[in-house]
């Protein structure tokens, strides 16, 4: 067991995979010599050489597009987009080919790869560096979309993503990269993609979140317990495609009250999908309208105002109290 940050845990998962399988490649801008702008790939080029941890020219579409060709030849590329906002430069390859080749060729060609990118706001970065596009990717059938919330599950989920026969979009909440350390076991472990977890057991209300806002949600749950005598259950989705519908409905049927929390904008966000799954399966168990605490339907502001925009524990507490008192 070692106490690792999420950056170190992700690095460990890639290091393990590269050591085990010579077909695993790490590709991206500044991932080699520089170790990535967040140092997630630090030391991989030194250990595995420039043909395994590859500094590419500055072209996201070419990184994704060439990775497709590499998968046809049995390689497993772990591609990195330097920031979430730049993933759109390669979107036509992810949408147009990565997710489609299996279906297009009836399984003759598949594109198992991991598309990693730092995700979300909260680090006072420039425009295009703080986006939360998980719903955009979750809408694309053929992809799996994963968002870890801590060092241990990040390492396990990245390993699962690398082992997956399907392409996985892997969002790394940059606000959590170095936010805290966690015990990570020495032996590699995996987590099933598509399964969430109960992050805090409770009986009065279900708070559903993932990624960086899970931390705000857990903080809110403590405050709700301490100051409002509300015992909140907190779910960590970990994956938004597939989404753990059973976990959600099981909890909702117990509590009858729901608040969904994510930093992506509300309109057509993952929260809307969560609400739909609850309404379809558990409508008659609901005691109150469902609330969504999310980013607003605007562009995330430049960083001077980003804290105002992002969900925080206070917003979650307020929405939850109103839900419970409905």
């Amino acid at each position: 067991m070692a106490e690792l940050t999420m950056v170190q845990a992700l690095n460990l998962a890639m290091r393990e995979a590269m050591a085990e399988d010579p077909n695993v490649l790490v590709m991206g801008e500044d991932v080699g010599k520089d170790g990535g702008v967040f140092r997630v790939t630090d030391g991989l080029q030194e250990e595995f050489g420039p043909d395994r941890c590859i500094d590419t020219p500055l072209a996201e579409a070419a990184i994704a597009g060439t990775a497709i060709g590499l998968t046809f030849r049995g390689f497993k590329p772990l591609i990195e987009f330097q920031f979430d906002g730049f993933s759109f430069q390669a979107f036509h390859h992810v949408e147009g080919h990565v997710r489609r080749f299996r279906n297009r060729t009836r399984g003759r060609y598949t594109c198992p790869m991991v598309i990693r990118m730092p995700y979300g706001g909260g680090i006072r970065a420039l425009e295009h560096h703080s986006e939360a596009p998980e719903a955009t990717y979750a809408h694309l059938a053929g992809l799996k979309v994963v968002l870890p919330s801590g060092p241990r599950n990040a390492r396990a989920l990245l390993r699962s993503a690398i082992l997956s026969p399907d392409p996985v979009v892997f969002f790394e909440p940059k606000a959590l990269y170095r936010a805290f350390r966690e015990e990570v076991p020495d032996e590699p472990e995996t987590l099933p993609i598509g399964k969430g977890q109960v992050a805090r057991a409770g009986k009065d209300v279900t708070l559903i979140s993932y990624a960086a806002t899970l931390r705000a949600t857990l903080d809110a749950a403590e405050e709700l317990a301490d100051e409002h005598d509300i015992d909140a259950e907190v779910l960590d989705l970990l994956s938004v495609s597939p989404i753990d519908e059973d976990l959600i409905n099981e909890s909702v049927r117990k509590t009858g009250r729901v608040v969904v929390v994510h930093e992506a904008p509300r309109h057509c966000g993952v929260g809307a999908e969560v609400v739909a799954r609850i309404v379809e399966k558990s409508l008659l168990y609901l005691e109150a309208p469902i609330r969504r605490v999310t980013g607003y339907d605007t562009i995330i502001p430049f960083f001077a105002n980003e804290k105002t925009w992002l969900p925080d524990a206070g917003k979650v507490v307020q929405a939850t109290v109103e839900t419970v008192n409905f």
């Binding site: 579409a61 070419a62 279906n103 009836r106 003759r108 597939p242 519908e245």
Partner: protein, 374 residues
């Protein structure tokens, strides 16, 4: 502190061997075995006839929208001929002659235009990619395939096709840039057919040639008469050999012409004149190849008639295969992931129930299926 011209180190050449009247430049004439010449002609003719039948079938409503390749048979064929079986072929969508040469069942091609994914389920053991719809995006995965050849040191080459319109896309340029940076065995073939739907070549680029774009990336390039099978074979042999020998990626611009519409969904009369098309009809690759073979006594009326009969029979059989192809109405659920997700399984059950009535329920007591009468 001089101001002087910078020497560009890469070569840009022009090549033409067999002119439209069938005259051959004997100094440049490639050595091709007689049997191969006949086979090349056979495939070119078969491609032409299949293409004509497809157009007719579209008009009859028997396939969907069709994109004809008439007049563009020589270039893909020349490259397919020069490739090894294990080399990788990455097409755009007017490279039917290469598919035919590389042994794709003709029926599969019809199924693709008939709207079923089976048409792009590449046959096992064939290192080809299916037709690519988003223009020039194929250049990027072709680059990845070629990169893999280098990383695996397996001696295979990747030949990628793109059109004149495709050269305006970023993907084309990014792929060429990556290809030279990593020095991979990629041969990029630009089929300049002068039209991208309604946009003429003159509005596609201000460059005198498409080929010279390669120079910017540090790549050798050649412009060839893409309607001349001998130029195509020569350029293909040379560029593929260079790529295989580690001399880096190559670009070939093949000059040709889109005789027909872009697809059956547009009418070229709206955007180009008959006068422009007329001279290109005389540059038809099939006619000059026929003249060349007749001059060499490799083709006569008797052989030609026999070929036409065999081709017609093969195409008839392909059409029968296509029209009897059994569509599985649920297959689109099957290939989204290696294992179907619970959500998709539920949606599949929903669709089946809609189409076929409720699914038989399995009794918990004895495991026998029971038909629900609810």
């Amino acid at each position: 502190m001089p101001r002087e011209a910078i020497e560009l180190t890469n070569k840009l050449e022009n090549l033409s061997i067999l002119d439209q009247d069938g005259n051959v430049d004997e100094a440049l004439e490639p050595k091709i075995a007689d049997a191969d010449l006949r086979k090349l002609y056979n495939v070119m003719l078969k491609t032409r006839r299949l293409d004509e039948r497809c157009l007719m079938m579209q008009r009859q409503g028997r396939i969907g929208t069709y994109g004809p390749c008439k007049g563009q048979e020589a270039t893909p064929l020349g490259f397919a001929y020069a490739m090894q079986a294990e080399d990788w072929f990455v097409p755009s969508y007017r490279e039917l002659s290469a598919y035919v040469w590389r042994g794709w069942p003709l029926g599969k091609y019809l199924v693709w235009w008939g709207g079923n994914e089976y048409g792009s389920a590449v046959p096992e053991g064939v290192n080809d990619l299916p037709i690519c719809v988003p223009i020039a995006s194929q250049c990027q995965y072709a680059m990845g395939i070629a990169w893999a050849s280098k990383l695996r040191q397996d001696d295979t080459v990747c030949v990628c096709f793109v059109g004149d319109g495709g050269t305006s896309q970023g993907d084309f340029h990014e792929a060429m840039n990556f290809a030279t940076v990593y020095n991979v065995p990629l041969v990029m073939v630009v089929q300049n057919n002068h039209w991208a739907i309604s946009l003429p070549r003159s509005k596609q680029t201000a460059s005198p040639t498409f080929a010279q774009k390669a120079i910017a990336y540090g790549m050798d390039a050649m412009v060839i008469d893409g309607n001349d099978i001998l130029s195509c074979v020569t350029a293909a042999r040379e560029s593929i050999k260079k790529a295989r020998d580690g001399q880096g990626p190559q670009l070939i611009e093949a000059t040709t012409y889109r005789i027909m519409m872009h697809t059956t969904a547009d009418d070229p009369k709206k955007y180009r004149s008959e006068e422009e098309v007329a001279p290109w009809l005389k540059k038809d690759p099939l006619i000059r190849f026929e003249t060349y073979l007749r001059n060499k006594k490799l083709l006569d009326d008797k052989i030609q008639k026999l070929m036409e009969e065999e081709i017609k029979k093969e195409i008839d059989e392909a059409i029968v295969f296509y029209e009897n192809y059994k569509h599985d109405p649920y297959e689109f659920f099957e290939h989204m992931y290696q294992e179907m997700t619970p959500e998709l399984a539920a949606q599949l059950a929903e669709l089946k129930a809609y189409r076929e009535g409720p699914a038989p329920e399995v009794s918990a007591s004895n495991g026998n299926p029971q038909v629900s009468h609810a």
